[in-house]
């Protein structure tokens, strides 16, 4: 498994838990709000879990961008310095 695959799997796990879905239900590009009825509180919860797991700080302004698993990965990679 590449590093990107590992990160994606970990992030998928976090998103699925917060949105109360099975990990395989979370598609890479599905919009959290439109597809899974997420709200701003769930978004903050996802952000908080990611910050705790990877010990990284992500500005709250990035929340608007973090609307799909793929987008979340891009934002986290940028702030955590992942070379995925």
């Amino acid at each position: 498994m590449s590093e990107r695959d590992t990160h994606m799997a970990e992030l998928r796990e976090i998103v699925a838990e917060v949105l109360e879905l099975e990990p395989e239900e979370v598609a890479d590009t599905a919009d959290f709000v439109e597809e899974y009825e997420a709200d701003s509180l769930r978004a903050i919860e996802i952000l908080a879990r990611i910050e705790k797991k990877y010990k990284v700080e992500i500005p709250q302004a990035e929340l608007n961008e973090m609307r799909s698993l793929k987008a979340v990965h891009e934002v986290v990679a940028r702030h955590a310095g992942w070379q995925d």
């Binding site: 838990e17 509180l41 903050i44 919860e45 952000l47 908080a48 910050e51 705790k52 709250q60």
Partner: protein, 157 residues
């Protein structure tokens, strides 16, 4: 640090019948807190119960137990904030909470609360509740967000 009931009332906006904490026995701001809630037969949740019900009809409602723990978490968060910070915590999510045994009138619940994370105007707490040496609940993650006090409710004078 110990907080008597009157001091809790200066911190929490909750009042009868929803102030579900009696005392804080110890608190280390930013880290942990131990709080006490005594359950009595006088609680409003027991009024209006017909005579002759099964004993478990008097089990303390899980929703109130969780709220009581959450109020402990709120006190911990409020005491952990920097001076001049305003706003009230609003309970928004509970995850991985397990109720292990029923609580009945006469039981004194002790909540052991840990503050896990404070970030982006949200706080996450975890911990457990005990009656004597019996654990009655485990709280994996309790989330609250801060909201302006005047946006929640105007306090009655």
């Amino acid at each position: 640090m110990r907080l008597e009931h009157g001091e809790l009332r200066t911190l929490l906006p909750h009042r009868y019948p929803m102030l579900l904490l009696d005392r804080v026995d110890s608190v280390e701001p930013g880290v942990s807190l131990e709080a006490v809630k005594a359950v009595t037969g006088c609680e409003p949740c027991y009024s209006g119960i017909a005579e002759g019900q099964a004993p478990d009809r008097y089990a303390y409602p899980a929703s109130l137990l969780i709220e009581s723990f959450g109020q402990g978490a709120a006190v911990l968060w409020l005491l952990s904030r920097g001076p001049g910070t305003t706003g009230l915590p609003m309970f928004t999510a509970a995850r991985d909470c397990v109720l292990l045994r029923q609580v009945y009138p006469g039981d004194v619940i002790r909540h052991r609360v840990r503050l896990e994370q404070v970030v982006h105007g949200a706080a996450f707490a975890a911990g457990s509740s005990w009656v004597g040496t019996d654990q009655v609940a485990e709280f994996g993650s309790m989330m609250a967000v801060v909201r302006p006090a005047d946006a929640i409710a105007e306090r009655k004078r």
